[in-house]
């Protein structure tokens, strides 16, 4: 029996997310035009919000599901199998973590139902905040922000003094805000922001610092979950391709050089999966994710993920460099995962500085 990747947490949530991702993949398959693709992503995103994904981690009192991190992991794992190009980690994980700094039940309820769709910003880029009159003004620009489709707001962390972080709420239709959208290499939406806009300061100080750190660690963890899931799918598809493709009168799967490379991909993926499994256990017992383990996982993902992605492209030969091949989309998703919530060097630096 040939290889099939195992879910981290088998069950209904995983299966539902898997089906959701495959349906989106089909819908996107015949759309080449970027605006058309963006509109398609927005439609599916609305469906996903209808299903209540954004409220997974939010308390039941606020209309959320009151779920645990494991519930979100099952969704991210299912979505990862098809490299689903929607911001599950950002909207369903990072936003609720940031809202911990904001004691506002009405806002949580609006997020849980999808009426409010904040796009989180953990790194303010070249944006600065200053007081103007009674209120705050955000100025500057920000490149390549992962964009939540049809955001109503930006939930933006930005220093308000030398060592004091602030958390701002910026309406998507704020005056002085210009948004330029792109598609990333993994097919998700991103945005460049240029702003000179008034914004509301929701929270400041230690509460924001803690919320941002927890949000980044959860984002990094969920990114690892998605990427490990995508690696499993990628290995499965690579094996299927090598088994079907005949050259020199024999299946490519019979060549030892290729078989060994697949074995190396599996070892790399399993190893990363081990780090993710360890974090999943910690998420079930500790109040916060252990940051060291998060950093080691992301560091490992940086190396192992790129190795698996590049090997898969290589072994698909010419097909591997085609835009439409599902395996190449999985590969590009894994490549991009490196740059979400701190790349491997950022995490290595964090570990070295603490040593």
């Amino acid at each position: 029996m040939a290889y099939a990747p195992k879910p981290l947490l088998p069950g209904d949530a995983f299966e539902a997310a898997l089906r959701f991702g495959l349906a989106l993949e089909q819908d996107l398959a015949h759309r080449q035009d970027p605006p058309d693709r963006a509109a398609c992503l927005a439609r599916h995103w609305r469906d996903l919000l209808e299903l209540g994904w954004a409220g997974t981690l939010l308390p039941e009192a606020a209309g959320g599901a009151g779920g645990a991190i494991a519930d979100l992991v099952a969704l991210a794992d299912g979505a990862g199998r098809s490299a689903m190009p929607l911001p599950v980690a950002a909207a369903c994980g990072v936003v609720p973590m940031l809202l911990r700094a904001v004691p506002d039940a009405a806002m949580q309820a609006a997020v849980a139902t999808g009426r409010m769709r904040p796009c989180p910003v953990l790194e303010p880029g070249a944006v600065t905040a200053r007081m103007e009159g009674e209120g705050w003004l955000l100025e500057g620009s920000l490149l390549g922000l992962e964009l939540v489709p049809e955001p109503t707001h930006y939930l933006l962390a930005c220093p308000i003094a030398a060592a004091e972080p602030g958390l701002f709420l910026l309406p998507a239709d704020a005056p002085g805000l210009a948004v330029t959208r792109h598609l990333r290499i993994d097919g998700r939406l991103s945005a460049d922001l240029a702003l000179h806009s008034p914004a509301r300061l929701l929270a400041r100080g230690a509460a924001v610092r803690e919320a941002v750190a927890a949000a980044r660690d959860l984002g990094a963890f969920l990114t690892c979950v998605e990427a490990v899931s995508a690696m499993g799918a990628l290995i499965e598809q690579t094996i299927a391709y090598l088994s079907a493709r005949v050259q020199f009168g024999t299946a490519l799967a019979s060549f030892q050089a290729l078989r060994h490379r697949v074995a190396e991909m599996h070892v790399a993926a399993e190893n990363t999966r081990g780090l993710v499994a360890q974090l999943l256990r910690a998420a079930g017992t500790a109040p916060a994710l252990p940051w060291r383990e998060v950093s080691f996982a992301k560091l490992r993902l940086g190396e192992a993920g790129r190795f698996v992605a590049e090997a898969a492209i290589q072994m698909h030969g010419g097909m591997g460099v085609t835009e439409a091949l599902p395996a190449s989309r999985l590969a590009r998703r894994i490549m991009l995962a490196e740059f979400e919530y701190g790349d491997r060097n950022w995490h290595a630096a964090r570990l070295l500085e603490a040593a």
């Binding site: 040939a2 290889y3 360890q278 996982a297």
Partner: protein, 392 residues
């Protein structure tokens, strides 16, 4: 008490004993990554035996501890964390379990006590010049002559033969049928007439391996394990029991700690900052991989304890940990290699620098090349993994 608390208090007991009873001079050998020999191992085995922990993997009826896999794993881990030597494996983990499973009561009574108390030393006579990864092609012949076998042939890569009393040996008793079917396992005293042990010098400068020549060596038939022609089965049983050895990554973590300390000590000061940080970064990458491997090892133990098949997890683990240890030794080499690789073998026996300190780092680097060769080479492990993944 729940499982986790029980295991934690078990670990505390182990740690206290290890730190108070393992002689400092033995722990110093481990801490300096120097080569362990029979002297250190047997002294430590005597101490463990006196405590009742001589054989963590054996059933109580044969003098073992009767511990389950999780407790055995904790034992191995804590001992490594305390710089105690890993127990010498040829007796305890290899031939011991084979004797317990397939040996006659007489064989068990004769051989097991010496393994337990560390008085008898064993080595493994498997590989030959023409039989490495392809072990079934072994040619050393054993011919029946009355109540004895007469054994003639050559074994190679025989670790510890120069300090052993006994060699459990795979020999060919028949050339008919499948290659695996003509193999028999014999227990051969190394003091027998007709045996010559010659060291094989290796690149690390340590003496591990030997060639063992057998020229008409007479071995009592009573020293045969089980049936004639079934040796492959017993050999395979032995290897299967060892498949989870890779789950213990504690020694690899200790090795990493030592390499980290070496880098910090060797590359002090602002003038060394860049090199120090580059090496520190590589150690971090290795640590990430080892952490992943440790988790996979725990999962594999859990699988075995719950009766689930192990599959290819041991191969995955062996690849990760063996290469991680090699990479660790590379970092150490990059820290100190320039002053060690240039001064490997002394020509002048005296002089201000006749003693080269820390030469073990170089020896370990060279020694660890073998880690991806023995116990199933990396290439063989990848064949195993690929066969499972491709289903063919």
């Amino acid at each position: 008490m729940d499982d986790a608390a029980d295991l934690e208090s078990f670990r505390r007991t182990l740690r206290e004993f290890a730190l108070s009873h393992c002689p400092p001079e033995i722990r110093a050998v481990v801490a300096a990554n120097r080569k362990l020999g029979r002297k250190e191992w047997s002294a430590w085995q005597r101490i463990l035996h006196a405590r009742g922990w001589g054989a963590p993997s054996w059933p109580k009826a044969h003098g073992g501890t009767g511990w389950d896999l999780r407790h055995r794993h904790a034992f191995d881990e804590v001992m490594a964390e305390c710089d105690c030597p890993p127990q010498y494996h040829h007796g305890l983990r290899h031939i011991g379990p084979v004797l317990i499973e397939f040996g006659t009561p007489e064989q068990q009574a004769h051989f097991l006590p010496g393994i337990l108390n560390g008085e008898d030393w064993w080595c493994q006579g498997y590989s030959e010049p023409g039989a490495g990864s392809d072990l079934a092609s072994l040619k050393t012949r054993a011919e029946r002559d009355g109540e004895e076998y007469v054994v003639t042939g050559q074994k190679l890569w025989t670790s510890h033969a120069h300090e052993s009393d006994w060699m459990y040996t795979l020999v060919r008793t028949s050339s008919a049928g499948k290659r695996q079917e003509g193999i028999t396992m014999l227990l051969i005293p190394l003091r027998s007439p007709g045996i010559t042990v010659r060291p094989v010098p290796t690149i690390d400068g340590w003496h591990h391996v030997n060639e063992v020549f057998l020229d008409g060596v007479r071995v009592p038939a009573a020293n045969r394990i089980g049936e004639e022609g079934k040796g492959w089965t017993y050999g395979k049983f032995l290897l299967d029991r060892e498949r989870l050895g890779g789950a213990n990554v504690a020694p690899a973590f200790r090795f990493l700690d030592r390499a980290r300390a070496l880098v910090a000590a060797e590359l002090q000061g602002p003038q060394n900052r860049l090199k120090r940080e580059m090496l520190a970064m590589r150690l971090l990458q290795i640590e990430a991989e080892l952490r992943g491997a440790r988790e996979l090892g725990l999962a594999a133990i859990d699988d075995v304890m719950n009766g689930r098949p192990l599959g290819i997890a041991p191969s995955v683990l062996k690849l990760s940990t063996s290469e991680a240890m090699q990479r660790t030794s590379q970092v150490a080499l990059d820290a100190v290699g320039h002053r060690l690789a240039t001064r490997f073998r002394p020509v002048d026996a005296s002089g201000p620098n006749a003693e080269v300190g820390e030469i073990e780092w170089l020896q370990n680097y060279l020694y660890l090349r073998a880690k991806t060769i023995f116990g199933g080479s990396s290439e063989v492990q990848k064949n195993v993994i690929a066969r499972q993944l491709f289903g063919t």
